[in-house]
């Protein structure tokens, strides 16, 4: 029943789109006043999609296996929390969520931009409606979440156990808010371009949307990374997996866009950058959806391998790309040459440098992700691009990037000099000294690591100083940059100081190393609702005599029948202790992997700090405006 209602409200939702387009086009031509009917219809469409989404949730909660999506992805013994999160843990449901966020954002956009130009608002709505219609048709035609199966199966097939995780339950909605938020930026940038509406006022108005999607995208990536850290059991937090990359690419474009908007807010420059980055952010999000969902890439996110779906998104994606190219080429007016020239030492220049760095990182990630596909098509040779590629190309460039990030914000708008900036050199020397002291006694490459740590420390100290000297001025930027320095520092220290051992142990055996002793005491069996757990008890003693018990787990899920390995992680401020165990086939040995990962929690905290910086900027805007 709920499925039926859900299905029909989807169909009605699609019909509403045509009403909206009809009234919008009429209103665009005829009158001067914005027709409120359009807002009402948009609201109605949003409600219909909500009803549809609730219909799917209810089907999941009631374990209504006559619904194909529920049958494929749920099971009656699953805890209620995962029944609900299972709604968007699959291809069909997650697309419905996309659609929900799309309609929500355009509604909010209409409500929030009352004082904007009528024609601009309508054109934005129209472009957004093209995207919405595309998704409606995609959903109804190729991935209907409400397919009926008869006869009704007794039991569902269950949700992939590695997706049964709280971080992952909220990861998709948060990430989607970021992705889809960028659709608003896309539509409004295109609308503004075609009406020649791009101005400093427009930048102020669109900035909040950029900030919102940027914050959600950052948090979404963070959640995915946290999940990978403790669920996939490799002890890392970023694997340069194609799926992670496709979320990183829009983030890089969006970050560059955010900085451009900050310039455009003050002065009518960098408009081409803004338009291109707005287009790029959304098309990269869509491209990510295509790469992930079509099965062209191999990953945990590949829900479906139906080529029909891949083809649909591909065509849709390229229609949008060509539409935006068309608008950009024919309508975009380049600003006058005279104001385009920046003084070499100014904030504008440094933001431009930041852009080029972002573009470089973006290109590296893009090539690493897409190149294997190209190669396979052209020469049918299979390669996989791994972390060494990214590390070699990105890490060295981080050094100048960090320096630019330290010095850039110190410069003034328009024109600047280096008077009263002696402290910059002082801090640089301190950073280098400190870095040398840290790296000196370690058995790693001295030069590159020293410079890397020094440049990160430099940014760290300078931003830290600003908290005291400047106080609340530029607080958001300072917090975000401070967070970034902290992030780089924690990643570096995490890499440099990590230790790892992999060994096979029997129950009762002990492993001794220089710094710690691992004692495998016993295993226990436990029956949970949807899995059987084998828990190991490990006693780990440090040289300092600190005793800790860790309990990694093997879970044997019943629906579907899959074994997963749950790491046990003891976190404290300075380091994480991370242990996983795995069965060795046909033996009574267990494979044990034990890692000490310093500053792990600081990686998460610093990303939180970065997005907190964005949040402050968003609210600052509110009470100033």
């Amino acid at each position: 029943m709920a499925s039926l209602i859900g299905y029909y409200s989807l169909i009605f939702g699609l019909c509403i789109s045509f009403f909206i387009i009809f009234f919008s086009v009429k209103n665009f031509k005829d009158s001067l006043i914005f027709d409120t009917k359009i807002v009402n219809f948009t609201f109605l469409q949003f409600i219909l999609v909500i009803v549809s989404f609730l219909g799917l949730i209810i089907s999941f909660v009631n374990s209504d296996f006559s619904n194909e999506t529920v049958f494929n992805h749920s099971h009656s013994t699953k805890p209620i929390f995962y029944k609900i999160s299972g709604t968007w843990g699959n291809h069909e449901g997650s697309l419905l969520l996309w659609l929900l966020v799309l309609t929500l954002f355009i509604l909010l956009f209409l409500l929030k931009s009352k004082e904007q130009n009528k024609r601009y608002k309508i054109l934005t709505l129209l472009i957004q409606q093209i995207i919405i219609i595309g998704f409606f048709i995609f959903l109804i035609k190729t991935s209907n979440p409400f397919n009926y199966i008869f006869p009704v199966p007794e039991e569902g097939l269950g949700l992939n156990p590695i997706l049964q995780d709280p971080a992952l339950a909220i990861h998709p909605p948060i990430l989607y808010l970021g992705y889809v938020g960028s659709s608003i930026i896309f539509s409004s940038a295109l609308a503004a371009t075609s009406l020649n509406y791009i101005s400093t006022a427009w930048a102020k108005h669109i900035k909040q949307w950029v900030l919102i999607s940027w914050i959600f995208l950052t948090l979404g990536i963070l959640l995915g990374s946290i999940w990978a850290y403790y669920e996939l059991g490799w002890g890392g937090f970023w694997f340069w997996d194609p799926v992670e990359n496709v979320s990183l690419m829009p983030w890089l474009a969006l970050t560059a866009l955010l900085h451009c908007i900050l310039v455009l807010e003050r002065k009518l420059v960098l408009t081409s950058w803004v338009v291109i980055l707005s287009i790029a952010t959304f098309t990269l999000s869509m491209c990510g959806t295509f790469l992930v969902r079509s099965g062209i890439l191999n990953s945990v996110h590949t829900f479906a391998n139906d080529p029909e779906r891949g083809l649909f998104i591909l065509i849709f994606l390229f229609c949008l790309i060509f539409l935006s190219l068309f608008i950009f080429i024919f309508f975009h007016k380049v600003e006058k040459k005279s104001i385009r020239n920046f003084f070499w030492l100014s904030k504008e220049t440094s933001i431009l440098i930041n852009n080029w760095f972002m573009m470089y990182f973006l290109t590296v990630v893009l090539i690493g992700t897409v190149y294997p596909i190209f190669l396979e098509v052209i020469s049918s040779e299979k390669i996989s691009v791994g972390p060494p590629f990214y590390h070699k190309l990105i890490v060295p460039l981080l050094i100048p990037f960090l320096f630019a990030m330290t010095i850039g914000p110190k410069l003034n708008w328009i024109k600047s000099d280096l008077k009263n900036k002696k402290y910059l050199i002082l801090f640089l020397m301190i950073s280098f000294l400190l870095s040398v002291l840290i790296i000196k006694n370690l058995d790693i490459k001295f030069l590159i690591n020293t410079i890397l740590v020094a440049s990160a420390l430099y940014l760290f100290f300078i931003t830290l100083r600003d908290f005291f000297v400047k106080g609340l001025k530029n607080l958001s930027q300072n917090i975000a940059h401070f967070g970034f320095s902290l992030l780089i520092l924690s990643i570096l220290f995490n890499n440099i100081f990590s230790t790892e051992i992999i060994t096979n142990l029997k129950i009762g055996e002990t492993f001794k190393s220089k710094n710690f002793i691992i004692n495998f005491e016993k295993v226990e069996q436990k029956d949970e609702k949807n899995f059987k757990a084998i828990t190991g008890k490990f006693n780990i003693k440090d040289v300092d005599g600190v005793d800790e018990v860790l309990n990694p787990e093997l879970r044997i899920y019943n629906q579907p029948n899959i074994v997963t390995s749950e790491a046990d992680i003891k976190t404290n401020l300075l380091s994480d202790k991370f242990i996983t165990m795995n069965l060795v086939q046909n033996q009574d040995y267990f494979n044990i992997r034990y890692q000490i990962k310093p500053f792990m929690i600081w990686i998460w905290l610093s990303v939180l700090l970065i997005s907190f910086g964005g949040l402050i900027s968003l609210f600052k805007k509110r009470y100033e405006g």
Binding site: G295, T302, A304, N305, F318, F322, V377
Partner: protein, 172 residues
Amino acid sequence: MKVKFFPIFLIIIFVIVFLIFYKGLQNSNIYTPNTLIKKNIPSFEAKTLRTNKKIDSKNLFKENEFYLINIWASWCIPCRDEHDFLIKLSNQKNVKIIGINYKDKNENAKNFLKELKSPYEVVLVDKDGTIAIEWGAYGVPESFLLYNKKIIKKIIGPLNKKSLFEIEKLIK
């Protein structure tokens, strides 16, 4: 001229990207998050449905060939749904479909095949359901794709367009 050249260049680039992605879709990868994969197949003995001859599984499967083990029963309604897909698959030369008739009456099973045509190379009888347990099946219908005497894919529940497509890819 320079102004006109750039858009054309851009469009050509994007068209090429489109074509490559389009081609890439055709040989898409298949991800199977299953622990069963690459496991050796269990050995068993069973009688055939038609001739009532005893067959040892060791002699049944040859190296370098694809087999689809399909566990079915005449009383199982979803089995009727997947039957069309099995027939479609049986027209492919490079895969042999072997049926395991699960907890069924011989009479009913034969009627089922008479009525709907048989896609199977051979049907083995699993009266008490022990063979299905050996295979680690959860219920009927269920299918296993074998290659070199190893399970390379397991399909729980009835075959559908999607799983048929995946199988066709794998046996290509």
